[in-house]
């Protein structure tokens, strides 16, 4: 089982690498490094703040977009091109295929994020001429960004298990946008009353909580991220992705392939 899962994951990763998906980090780094001197001209204290906000937000958005665009084709491409036939005629369970594809894309995104992080720190070094202890605190924000990738990949996989690639992309991106306001929605649901309250609350809690996973502005002001939030977010991301992937598997198990 493990060897089949890792074979599928590794092949997914290899496809992304050879498809040059990973090379967008080069673009990211080049853009940041090229524009870095501009930040320096604004004002001394502000430059770091802006660089962190712009850099980390871009890293998150880049990754989300790659997760969605690779994610929608993850399974549908293998169905359309019938490569799945030669996999399902082997001792591979359908859930192993889905889980392997999921892990492969998450691995791709994590490697991608690692390269982007290196480029980001390089830019910090270029602008400030040194790295401080406070800069290490940014890693928590980057870790949360990777957790976002876990969730959005699982959701994309779930949508693509029953809908077309275009709709899957739209649904996933819409949920990402809505999810960045999850905290506001939860507060709103708590204020509502009457019979609908439980329903509204239930629906709101289904929305992935991307706002808790976004601590960019907090770390840009050097406010440390608490250990309990790291633990809570890790558990949340793992459980949420597992549930979404499991739902994708349940749908896929019953599907007649074209």
């Amino acid at each position: 089982m493990i060897s089949r899962l890792s074979a599928i994951a590794f092949n997914t990763f290899r496809e992304a690498v050879r498809d040059r998906v990973l090379y967008n980090f080069v673009l990211f780094v080049l853009l940041l490094v090229a524009t870095a001197p501009l930040f320096g001209q604004i004002s001394i204290g502000l430059e770091r703040l802006i660089l962190i906000n712009v850099g980390l937000s871009a890293m998150s958005l880049f990754g989300i977009v790659i997760a969605i665009f690779v994610g929608i084709g993850l399974v549908s491409k293998e169905i359309d091109k019938k490569t799945l036939y030669t996999i399902l005629s082997r001792p591979v369970r359908r859930w192993e295929f889905i889980a392997g594809k999921y892990l492969g894309l998450v691995m791709t995104l994590a490697v991608n994020a690692t390269f982007m992080t290196a480029g980001f720190y390089l830019t910090l070094l270029v602008t400030a001429h040194q790295l401080t202890r406070a800069d290490a605190g940014l890693l928590a924000a980057i870790y949360f960004i990777i957790l976002q990738f876990f969730i959005i990949t699982a959701l994309t996989l779930l949508f693509s298990s029953f809908s077309t690639p275009i709709f899957s992309a739209i649904f996933s991106f819409a949920l990402f946008v809505i999810g960045t306001f999850a905290e506001d929605l939860r507060n709103f649901a708590a204020m509502s009353d009457g019979a609908g309250k439980w329903l509204v609350t239930g629906v709101v809690y289904l929305v992935p909580n991307f706002s808790a996973l976004n601590v960019i502005s907090q770390v840009s002001h050097d406010v440390p991220v608490s250990g309990s939030l790291i633990l809570y977010n890790t558990l949340y991301a793992v459980l949420y992705s597992a549930a979404a992937t499991a739902a994708a598997v349940l749908i896929f198990e019953r599907r007649n392939l074209k």
């Binding site: 074979a7 091109k81 019938k82 399902l88 005629s89 082997r90 001792p91 007649n256 392939l257």
Partner: protein, 310 residues
């Protein structure tokens, strides 16, 4: 032991926007294939060949019925190590090289690492791809891809090999290469189940064939037996074209070249024809029995007229 037992597999695809219109693709199919047999599954396009193979591979689920492979339920994952499958008009991950592809598939089939290296080298050699092993599949010709397809189907040394239209879309050389590969599988004692609409290939390779049309099994048997079930006819050639008018009603086809006439007659009418020709004062040149071909059998069993009767 039976290699494959198909026990009434039936498939209706649900079509339409709401997926509520059933489209029957396979009527209850019963078929048993022995171990070591090379079995041809014949039928025109749309007959239900691919559907049958997809059902057997667990790619689509049957509306009813079941199947057993080497005595096990066909969805049993344990049995998958013993089967190999080449889909119709296959496409493979074109960013991989042939040896990377074979390695991936062998891993999925649970072949240990040392074994994999040996098998890959052996199969690249055997399929004539030894020189192209490192090349990306996007640079492969159709014939080479088909050979890679056979290699991936047998990389884990399965007992049964399923091939869906392995020769279609290939040039004559490509077809011959695939033919020879199938013959070599047969020599290795593998059970080969392949679908085709190319009758000469079936005739050259198969121990037995089945003919399917519109999802219904129309006939099954040894190729020679099926041929002999086709109508027995004779070709008669005589001198004296004037007699043609008198015997035309007995002939299924006829033509004339100068004074020499030629006609094809059904076995039961042969005596009557010869009698009439004698009375018309013609000179008999030859009578040749015509053997049925697999094509005759195929055509007779896959025309719609037959479908109404059958």
């Amino acid at each position: 032991m039976n290699a494959i037992e198909i026990l009434g597999l039936t498939k209706s695809y649900l079509t339409g926007f709401l997926r509520n219109k059933p489209k029957p693709a396979l009527q209850p199919l019963h078929l048993t294939i022995q171990e070591g047999e090379t079995f041809g599954f014949l039928g025109p396009n749309g007959a239900g060949k691919t559907t049958t193979l997809k059902l057997l591979m667990g790619i689509v689920f049957p509306t009813s019925g079941s199947a057993r492979i080497l005595g096990h339920h066909f969805h049993d994952p344990g049995i998958k190590k013993q089967i190999g499958f080449l889909p119709e008009q296959p496409y493979f991950y074109d960013y991989l090289s042939a040896s990377e592809l074979l390695d991936y598939y062998a891993q999925l089939s649970g072949v240990p690492k040392d074994e994999r290296r040996k098998r890959i080298a052996l199969l690249l050699e055997r399929t004539g791809l030894a020189d192209a092993g490192k090349k990306q599949l996007r640079k492969f010709s159709k014939g080479m891809l088909q050979r890679v397809g056979i290699a991936q189907a047998i990389i884990h040394d399965p007992k049964i090999v399923f091939l869906d239209e392995p020769m279609s879309g290939l040039d004559p050389i490509g077809r011959r290469e695939i033919r020879e590969l199938i013959l070599s599988l047969k020599k290795d004692g593998k059970t080969v189940f392949f679908s085709t609409h190319i009758l000469s290939d079936a005739e050259a390779l198969c121990d037995r064939v089945a003919v399917i049309h519109k999802g219904v099994l129309r006939g099954i048997g040894v190729v020679e037996d099926l041929k002999s079930q086709t109508e027995d006819k004779s070709e008669v050639v005589w001198q004296g074209a004037h007699a043609l008018a008198a015997v035309a009603s007995l002939l299924s086809e006829s033509n004339v070249a100068g004074e020499v006439a030629r006609g094809v007659v059904r076995g039961q009418d042969l005596d009557l024809l010869l009698e009439k020709l004698r009375r018309e004062q013609t000179r008999l040149i030859s009578v040749t029995p015509l053997h049925g071909t697999l094509e005759d059998y195929f055509v007779a069993h896959t025309t719609d007229q037959e479908a109404v009767q059958g």
